[in-house]
Symmetry: C2
Subunit: 209 residues, 2 copies
C-alpha cells in the first residue's frame, strides 16, 4: 500500500542506520559546498531530523567530517579492475582500464573528488589521510608495474614514479576540467577518444623505439 517512491515517512531508525544516513547526507553537502559552507541545519534538513540528532551521533561537526573520511577511505580501490591486464602485461589495457575507472567513478559520483580538494584547500589534517589511503595506493601500483616493465626492457629507463604521475596527471586533469571547471570538450573529443590519445601518447613516449 505504501506509495514506495515518496520520501520515506518519518520513522524511527536504529542508531546505526541513522548514523549512516547522516554521514551520507553530510558527505554530499560537504562535497558540494565545503565544510565551512555547509551548516548543521542543512544537514539535518537533508536527513529529515532535528539538528540535535546530529549531535547525538557526533559530538562536533568536525567529528562528523572525520567519520565521512573514515567511511570514504574504505571504498573499493581504483586499480582493482586493472589487475588482470597487469597480470598479462597488456600495457595498453592496464592504462585504458585505469583511466576508464577513474573517469567513470568521478562522473557517477564526484563526491570523493570534491571532498578531497575541499579538505586539501581548507587545510584539514584529514585531507592527507584521504590522500594517502587512496592516491598513494594507486601510485604504488602503477609505479610498481612500470618498474617491472622497465626491468623487462619493454620500457625505456624512465623513472617509474614520475611516469606514474605523468599518466595519472593526464587523467586527473581531464576529470578536473570536466567535473570541477565544467568545461565541455569539443564534440569530436569523446571520452573514449581522449583516453585512447592519452594511452597512445604515454606508451609511445615510454616504450623502446
Amino acid at each position: 500500500m505504501d506509495g514506495g517512491t515518496g520520501p520515506a515517512r518519518r520513522v524511527r531508525l536504529t542508531g546505526e542506520e541513522r548514523r549512516r544516513q547522516i554521514i551520507e547526507a553530510a558527505a554530499t553537502l560537504f562535497s558540494r559546498k565545503g565544510f565551512r559552507g555547509t551548516t548543521t541545519r542543512e544537514i539535518a534538513e537533508a536527513v529529515g531530523v532535528s539538528e540535535a540528532m546530529l549531535f547525538k551521533h557526533f559530538v562536533t561537526k568536525e567529528e562528523l567530517y572525520a567519520a565521512i573520511i573514515e567511511t570514504k577511505s574504505h571504498a573499493r580501490r581504483v586499480m582493482d579492475p586493472a589487475l588482470a591486464a597487469a597480470e598479462r602485461e597488456d600495457d595498453a589495457e592496464v592504462l585504458r582500464t585505469l583511466a576508464r575507472e577513474m573517469i567513470g567513478r568521478t562522473r557517477t559520483d564526484p563526491t570523493l573528488m570534491r571532498l578531497t580538494f575541499f579538505s586539501a584547500l581548507e587545510g584539514h589534517a584529514l585531507s592527507d589521510i584521504m590522500f594517502r589511503s587512496r592516491v598513494q595506493q594507486l601510485d604504488d601500483f602503477l609505479s610498481g608495474y612500470f618498474a617491472k616493465r622497465v626491468a623487462a626492457g619493454a620500457f625505456r629507463p624512465v623513472d617509474p614514479l614520475q611516469a606514474a604521475w605523468n599518466f595519472i596527471g593526464m587523467v586527473a586533469y581531464h576529470v578536473q576540467r570536466f567535473e570541477l571547471f565544467k568545461q565541455k570538450p569539443p564534440e569530436h573529443l569523446t571520452t573514449e577518444r581522449a583516453i585512447e590519445e592519452m594511452v597512445q601518447l604515454f606508451l609511445n613516449g615510454v616504450r623502446r623505439a
Copy 2:
C-alpha cells in the same frame, strides 16, 4: 629624522591605494581559507583598518571577491616566456619553458591556483571568468602550436587540443601534489628532473618514429 625603514608613517592613504591594499590582503586570505572561511573582520585586521573601510570600497564581500578576480585575471600570461622557443620550433624548449613557468609561478605565489580551485568548488560564477581568461589562453597557444607541428609532419597526427591537455595535465598534477596536497617527492626527483621526464615522455609520444 624619520627612521626611514619603519612601516610607512602615513596613516591615511588615498582611496586608490587603500583599495589595492584591501584587494591584496583579501586575495591572500581567500586563497588560504576560502571565501566563506574568511571573515571581513580578518581582512580588515590584515590591512590594519576598520571593517567599515572595506564596505566603503566594496558594497559587499562578494563585490570584493569580484574585484580580486578582475585584478588577478590581468596578470601576465603564462605562455609568454615560451613564445621565442615556439618561433624557432624548438619543441623541447617550448615545453620545458612552459612547465618551468607554471611550476615556478605557483611555487612563489600559490594564491592564484588556490583561488581558482576554491571558486570552482564553491561554485562561484566568477570561477569560470578566471578559468577562461587564464587557462583557455594557454590551451589555445599550445594546441595551436601542436597543430602547426602536426601539419609540418613533425608530430604524428594527434589531436592537438587533447595533446595540449595531456601535457598541461602532467604539469598541473605535479603542481597540485606539491602545493595543494603537500606531498614531497622523493629526493632523486628534483623539479628539473621531473620536468625533463615530462618533456621527453611527451615528445617521444608525439613525434614521428
